[in-house]
């Protein structure tokens, strides 16, 4: 089923249902639905909103009165917490931000390239053991990362690279690979075989077909996996905690978790630190939401 077909169908389904609603069953039904949805949205937003408001309050206020008191005295607004949490203390969110970028960008791009080649082989090439190998990949989708952490940390120690960025790049390349191969292969399987066949007849090698045809045609799937992997790596705590720790290369999630443990009473710093750590994922998420959702639904809604 192609994406456009699904969309058209969805619209038709909605229109049909909408028309019957208007015809009779109920303006009342819609009214109730609207109220419940508004309530749920309110519930979902308030905690984050409280965090955001607290991050702009002076320390004394933030730790002695609730954030809802801010609106009684909005002039107390301050940016000091942000400058404090960015540059000073053991948290140093500014440095952690750069570290998170240094971890997440390579750990997103490298696995995609590797997975795309593998997905191509699984989709368009014949070789013995193809189905068995792919089933192993599918099985590995559910295997938790924890299984690899003890041996890998020993391995990285022996190699003398413990605590360096390259450890998390390697680990995330391995951990993200099954999902990447799975998503890309499922997408490539929907591409018209005839295009590839005619390319082969025209004398194109697999290598050329891959770069000139399949990669450009797979951009939606590549983009949606890239967003997945980026958010996953940026938001990851466990892998970073084990391979990078709290040293010079500490990422934002570690820094924030450390503050939660040690500075439980500095809510102005905790909240501004937390908001800083969410800023980039939220921007990525909202600007690329369409790709993200399309990727998610294309993979799963098959039936």
């Amino acid at each position: 089923m192609s994406t456009t077909a699904t969309a058209v169908k969805a619209k038709a389904a909605k229109a049909a249902r909408g028309s019957t609603t208007a015809a009779g069953v109920g303006a009342k039904g819609t009214w109730i639905a609207e109220t419940v949805v508004v309530m749920l949205c309110f519930l979902w937003l308030v905690p984050t909103f409280g965090l955001l408001v607290t991050s702009f309050r002076p320390g004394d206020d933030a730790n002695s009165t609730g954030w809802w008191n801010f609106f009684a005295n909005p002039l107390s607004f301050t940016m000091e917490n942000y400058s404090a949490v960015l540059t000073s203390g053991d948290s140093q969110m500014g440095k952690a931000f750069i570290n998170s970028l240094a971890v997440a960008v390579p750990a997103t791009i490298i696995p995609i390239l590797i997975a795309a080649f593998a997905a191509y082989a699984f989709t368009f090439m014949e070789f013995p053991g193809r189905d068995v190998i792919f089933i192993v990949v599918v099985g590995l989708l559910v295997v938790p990362n924890q299984v690899a952490l003890v041996p890998l940390s020993v391995l990285f120690q022996n190699w003398g690279i413990q605590g360096q960025f390259v450890t998390v790049w390697l680990a995330h390349t391995g951990f993200g690979m099954p999902l990447a191969v799975y998503i890309l292969r499922n997408y490539m399987a929907t591409l018209p075989k005839s295009v590839i066949e005619s390319a082969t007849i025209d004398g194109a090698s697999h290598f050329q077909t891959f770069w000139r045809l399949i990669i450009p045609m797979s951009v939606p799937a590549l983009a949606s996996f890239a967003i997945f992997q980026f958010l996953w790596v940026w938001n990851d705590l466990l892998v970073a905690l084990i391979f990078l720790g709290q040293g010079d290369n500490m990422v934002m999630t570690i820094s924030l978790a450390g503050m939660l443990g040690s500075r439980g009473n500095n809510w102005q710093l905790l909240t501004s630190g937390a908001f800083l750590s969410m800023l980039l994922p939220l921007v990525v998420f909202f600007s690329l939401q369409r790709f993200f959702i399309r990727g998610m639904t294309a993979g799963a809604v098959k039936g």
């Binding site: 699904t6 002695s64 750069i98 990949v137």
Partner: protein, 327 residues
């Protein structure tokens, strides 16, 4: 700082160009072979780096973990099944297993139910309102579990009754005449574990909603129309026509959340570090490795987790084969 940025940039360039070069070289090498062999080896040239990464960073460590679970804390002395024996006679570990069971029983089901609820209700709104509502519910998905923990720790924050509350939950309680509680230490009925679950559900309902919403919209209109013509009520149409057709997606969502919940770590680590009887396997593993510095115990905990996941794995593979057969 500039050094780090340039290091990251170099890594991206070297990593990407390096990977491309590897493929180019592999491709060239294979092309040097006689045509028959070239045909035979080319797929493996394309596969090699991916399979290498999976083997090196996932499969091989899984086996060494099983092996290490039979050894002592620094992997120097063989101890047989002693680590497992220690785990299953240890009350702290057993209670963390029990907590994991609670997570498994409640979180996936609640995520499906809330996701379905939002998907169905939002479907009845105008397109613009639907889009806004969905974005709001979906938003926490972009937030890290640590960030979500910070957000909710503020909601659960406790101040003595004499001073003003800064946590929303206690403020509500005080407003209605109650006494403020130290919520995260409230162990009766595992209440604090449920408070941690709320954080997980809050971040995951968006995912569940998006998938279920797509599934519901994909239900063919004629089946709904047929139900209407036969005089079925809205409720009947929902439970007997829409839900059965969206059922495969319900299962997918359930399994995905289930897998995530079995290895839950961040929320527990950040909010309670497993204290006050909230520990789970994921956090017990981390503490065995970094607090107790006991490789044998940590490995044994992971093996327990792996064994627990095997049924899900079998199901996943079977499901996939069925899907392929229908392709």
């Amino acid at each position: 700082m500039a050094e780090k940025i340039s290091l990251a940039l170099v890594a991206v360039v070297v990593g990407v160009l390096g990977a491309m070069a590897v493929y180019w070289v592999l491709n060239k090498l294979v092309e040097l072979l006689p045509t028959k062999w070239e045909q035979r080896f080319k797929p493996f040239a394309f596969l090699l780096p991916a399979l290498g990464a999976i083997t090196m960073f996932l499969i091989y460590p899984a086996f060494t973990t099983v092996y290490a679970s039979l050894f002592n804390d620094d992997s120097s002395v063989f101890v047989g099944l002693k680590n497992y024996q220690r785990l299953f006679t240890n009350d702290v570990f057993l209670s963390s297993l029990l907590n994991n069971v609670l997570w498994i029983v409640f979180v996936p089901a609640l995520c499906v139910i809330f996701g379905l609820l939002v998907a169905v209700l939002a479907d009845r709104l105008s397109p613009t309102k639907e889009k806004v509502a969905k974005s709001i519910i979906f938003l926490p998905m972009a937030i890290s579990m640590v960030g979500a923990s910070t957000i909710w720790k503020l909601v659960y924050e406790f101040k003595p009754a004499a001073s003003p509350q800064i946590g929303l939950l206690n403020q509500l309680l005080v407003t209605f005449g109650g006494q403020p509680q130290t919520w995260l230490q409230f162990e009766d009925f595992s209440f604090n574990t449920f408070l941690l679950m709320i954080v997980y559900i809050w971040t995951s309902v968006g995912y569940s909603m998006v998938l279920l919403s797509a599934a519901i919209k994909g239900v063919p209109v004629d089946t709904i129309e047929a139900g209407r013509i036969d005089g079925a009520t809205e409720r009947k149409i929902f439970f007997q026509i829409i839900v059965p057709q969206a059922w495969p997606t319900v299962i997918v969502v359930f399994i995905t959340v289930l897998i995530g919940v079995m290895k839950v770590f961040d929320i527990v680590y950040a909010m309670t570090n497993g204290n006050f009887n909230t520990d789970v396997i994921g956090n017990a593993f981390y503490n065995a490795m970094f607090t107790d510095l006991d490789r044998g115990k940590a490995s044994a905990i992971v093996v327990v987790l792996m064994v627990a996941i095997i049924p899900v794995l079998v199901y996943q593979v079977r499901q996939f084969r069925e899907q392929e057969a229908n392709r």
